[in-house]
Symmetry: D2
Subunit: 391 residues, 4 copies
């Protein structure tokens, strides 16, 4: 028997069945095309530095400062003290309510690990950032999906049918992949419902400074005192520093003591997050030059979005107008494509990389894909010219 086993490759575990990451998985196919000499336009991944967006410079400057000082041991597991103080100011909470994480990715993992038990219902948006799908499965939660209206707002009537008995609700705003910005009114209705049904909220504010249209909302103000919530964000998008791997979660409300202790244990287990970057973030996040930085970034994003809308408008494609973040979640209105993956592969052959809509949850009513509009206008134009014959 041993002899036979020797012939065989090792097998991964069953758990790997639920680990996939469609946003990057498609890249492997793209790389193969590129290796053949084809030039590819990558509209699949939300990585601003790749498209000419400079990270907020203060971070790098402050990392250098920290390197010169004595921050090379393990940082406190739960986060550097200055970092937590800075976040606490932003969040209007106590420093003890803040945890530093290696990108919000880690915060999402800790949230499911510590709070969503076997078979417990967690409300997710549909469409949803894929990591939430994977983590809900890995940690054996029962994902129930709420819908959006045509404008990309949360469909509160739909939510109200599904909310009863939920352990928690996830909100991503501005939404990835929809690019929609939930309005204050929309969020207030959701908070009211969560309060009635006693459902706490995990709020993913990764893109909360990237507002392209409409009035910025501060969820913390809307929800504070009404429903317990966890607010998470990071340096990745709002500061265009995806490679820093620094984020946070902040607990709001009175009932989190045991869950915070669980976060603390999970933090302990992975020891620490890079210390110099925490020190840098502690300064950069409240630096006086940030408002000008983000205004400039949003200005560029608006321009690129407008080009994107203009180009897409000429094709049988529909999507809510993106008002935040830098994505559009697009429905193909022509009947040429029955499966999203077929379309995405065809686009890839033309030199444009998208993410199939099914990567963001089951889309029953049509064929969808996600595109970023991060590149410069002329590249967006080029991408559309390459794919237009497919639609």
């Amino acid at each position: 028997m041993i002899h036979l086993r020797r012939q065989l490759p090792y097998r991964p575990t069953e758990r790997m069945n639920v680990v996939s990451y469609p946003i990057r998985d498609i890249v492997m196919e793209a790389k193969r095309e590129e290796a053949k000499g084809k030039k590819m336009i990558y509209l699949n991944i939300g990585d601003p530095p790749q498209y000419g967006f400079e990270p907020f410079r203060v971070i790098a400057d402050q990392v250098k400062v920290a390197l010169a000082e004595n921050w090379k041991g393990y940082a406190p597991s739960e986060g550097d003290e200055e970092f937590r103080n800075t976040v606490a100011k932003i969040e209007k909470c106590k420093p003890e309510d803040v945890f530093a994480v290696a990108g919000l990715t880690e915060g999402i993992d800790f949230f499911f690990h510590s709070f969503i038990g076997f078979g417990e219902k967690v409300l997710l948006p549909n469409p949803v950032y894929p990591l939430y799908l994977s983590k809900a499965k890995q940690f054996e939660g029962d994902s129930v999906f709420y819908r959006h209206d045509a404008d990309g707002q949360i469909d509160v009537a739909n939510l109200s049918k599904k909310i009863e008995g939920a352990k928690a609700m996830v909100i991503i705003n501005p939404n990835n992949p929809l690019g929609s910005l939930y309005s204050e009114k929309n969020l207030a209705e959701v908070v009211k419902l969560c309060s009635e049904y006693d459902v706490p909220i995990f709020y993913d504010g990764s893109y909360d400074r990237l507002i392209l249209e409409g009035k910025p909302v501060d969820f913390r103000k809307i929800a504070r005192g009404k429903v317990p919530f966890i607010y998470g964000s990071s340096l990745s998008k709002d500061f265009s520093y995806t490679g820093a791997r620094i984020g946070w979660v902040a607990f709001h409300g009175e009932r989190w003591a045991e869950v915070k202790n669980a976060f603390f244990l999970l933090c302990n287990q992975r020891l620490s997050v890079n210390w110099e970057y925490q020190k840098a973030a502690a300064v950069a996040m409240v630096h006086p030059s940030y408002p000008a930085y983000i205004a400039d970034m949003n200005r560029k994003l608006i321009e690129r979005r407008n080009t994107f809308i203009k180009m897409a408008g000429k094709l049988p494609l529909s999507f809510p107008v993106p008002k935040g973040a830098f994505y559009a979640f697009i429905r193909i209105e022509s009947q040429k494509w029955r499966k999203d993956l077929q379309f995405v592969r065809a686009a890839l052959k033309e030199g444009v990389v998208f993410v199939p809509g099914s990567g963001f949850g089951r889309q029953e009513d049509g064929v969808y894909f996600r595109s970023t509009f991060l590149p410069e206008p002329h590249i967006i134009e080029e991408a559309f010219s390459k794919i237009k014959r497919l639609l």
Copy 2:
């Protein structure tokens, strides 16, 4: 019903039952003592920079270089190309066999996640670094423990009774918490056994440059071609840069294709490891000044170890002479203490922080604790003077 639930604090999941990290958990108690004004000597945690060991300077220098360049987006999930090339040279494997991880902590998580299935037997040393205990439980493996002899070598006869049917064996060398350095002969016997029973090895070489006595061993040479293995290490200990959160795993042997793909998916899911530090590591790990750096570090460690042994020798304590890393796993030979936690708490009241032996697995035959000998000799002397009356 909703009304009643409102009164209650939120409850963490059952999974949290298996998450604990005794090395840091004890710190919370220590901090409370410190807050009362007591001066504490922390011998619980293996964090060289805390004890005056400077990280290898080239890393910080190279981070600055990288900050000046364009490495601020997501790094490739599986690791920066230069980083993988450098590791491949060290490992004598192909760059495709290397994965960058956020400290070996993450590599250990990925190993269990992808390779140890429900109920599959994994051989762990006893005593063992606590993360292995937690991860085996989290991923529902069946931990079976092999013993050490009085010199801290793997007890091959004991191992031979337990190896049949194991999915994998974990080796930590130099061993944490034992401080022992398995000899070439010992490892060759283990490799032979693993080869006979077709059991691949996860080799944790976190401390493989910290050799205080005896001949350094290169496990890769011993095992290559005989048994498939995964070699993991990091910048944390060998380069005294615990806060960098950069490590790697390298796959050796022909049967790992599907497991490597699983690692790739797990890497994708968490997006990336800090890019500038990878760039820095790619240069620093093969820098010509490293041999002098590590020789100096080992020289200091030997001195501190010798003080430690001298001081411990005056008390009813026994342990294998540490020949690697910077720990001793100590058995209390007096009959004064029936539970390790009682002793550790008593020591804490005297101002010295240890880790109870039970944190490293069930110790059936006595009362144990782990101490590091990282501090300067006079501090080690002070620590022993504080606790001697307890023994």
Copy 3:
């Protein structure tokens, strides 16, 4: 801490989150009404003996014969030899392919336990018998639901969009709760699809002799040689002996060797099924008097169904005409009810017990309930007269 815990009731495990059985759960509420003196008509549970259907008499006679003989030890775990031989004749398979189970309930548990791994996709009908929902959750499968057309046939187009990558497909025919009988043509299309995508089938034939209209189908003939399948049935419904707790699963096709071994281990673990009832079933299932028995039962069921249809036809209710089993899955066409549980509770106050449609899976497009039509016509008429004012 111990002192505080003493005050608290013990808590069940998180796993209990996924255990519910809506068909019986509603009974507890009904019993409370009954205790107050209200007469209840139970249309919630498919238990023929409760409604005057005599179990096939040969079984009881043969149990007595077996009691006089020597069958009181543990039966062979996998099933009594004669029982397996009889089933093998019915199934046209080998006796070794047959396992005796304590009702098909146990067979379904074993199927999920042994075959649906973590995160593996299993295709379930919607609506579906609730046990499949619970077991898929307990064993961490990924339930994906296929739809039915207005006639209660499998919607093959819908299935074709979801089948790719499924580990197995569950078919219940005649369907519980729909009461529909999939036609030979419908099943042949499904088998073709499963064959193309290499998806084996678990076929629940619990009601396969209860055919009220249309041509009986033998799935085994349709599928044999085309796709591997497991056929399960029992004495509960086809022989009206729900309390016997005797059923079977039979494996068809060449690729089941390891799964059959897994079933064997699960059988071993629970030791045995009641031996005398297996002996009795071995004789009764092929007894010459059975055809007359089942013809009479079906005749009565048709009569009751017809009454049911007539009464329901006067109300704003719609459902596929039941052609098998003894259930109807009914959509409320009036706008008076927004939640099925509200309607079911209102009916309960009137003295009629139904099962809410949500117990059979999420019904997104309307408000449903399941009713059996097992009772005598005058009771069915009485039930409708009680509830008509609610609609």
Copy 4:
């Protein structure tokens, strides 16, 4: 890809890794020997009817009575009312505290399913009836084993080191496989410890009427009011009716409300236990002729045990004198065998079937096997004559 998969046999799930049943698994090997014409003596399985012990006749008589009456539908999930009343009298609890189960096997499954959460510590005896090992693994509990002294009593000192933080403790008395009968004094000490540490008890009384030596103990009297407990037993051993598949669990103490509800849900899910056998048990268990029946059975068992001890005494074998049940757990004192499975296989070649000791948990200190002494004295003598040359 589909094409390739077609070639492959289906794979069972990872969960099957933890399902094994050593008592019956060895039988498969024995059957192969038997098929070659060798006569086998089966000392592996505790099935009294196989060895000439007649089941308590009243049961079969009462099944016939029940068959003539109207008990052929689903019985109430939680158990027939009369059955629960009878058990309640035996248990001195309320009928609502009693659940009917399909053999205590099912009760053990329900106990772990509902009460031992992920990673929760459950204290098991070592050696232990194998089902407890499997269920603890299936339901992801953390099994911690307590030892016995040379007389087969619970080693309370050992237990006291391990009890802290346990969710529950399992006691099997008379013990399978040890055959020991814990004394009132021993149990009182255990109860005191459990009370101090607030650890409830699952008491497996499957053999509680089979007392061969010493004073019978009634655990309920010892524990009542001191510690919450669950008492389980069945018809299998005490009534020699292994094939009946009827048992019960009874909850004692004030804190079980939620766990009882969980049991109720699990009962609902599997619908019912055979109704006629419950009716029969309700009468038989309190029938006036039972005391004579059990006295006769114990008299025979004592005779067989004495022969067993006499024969074993001539060989290098040691074990606590069995004072209950019908097993001995035997240590091989000669140095001829290093692995229990080797010895068991050698015995099998000689025509005698035992169970290897490792099936009852890890035995670190020697080589063990379990034998029943159910057969008539001359068969026991024959068995020893066959194996004596192996020792």
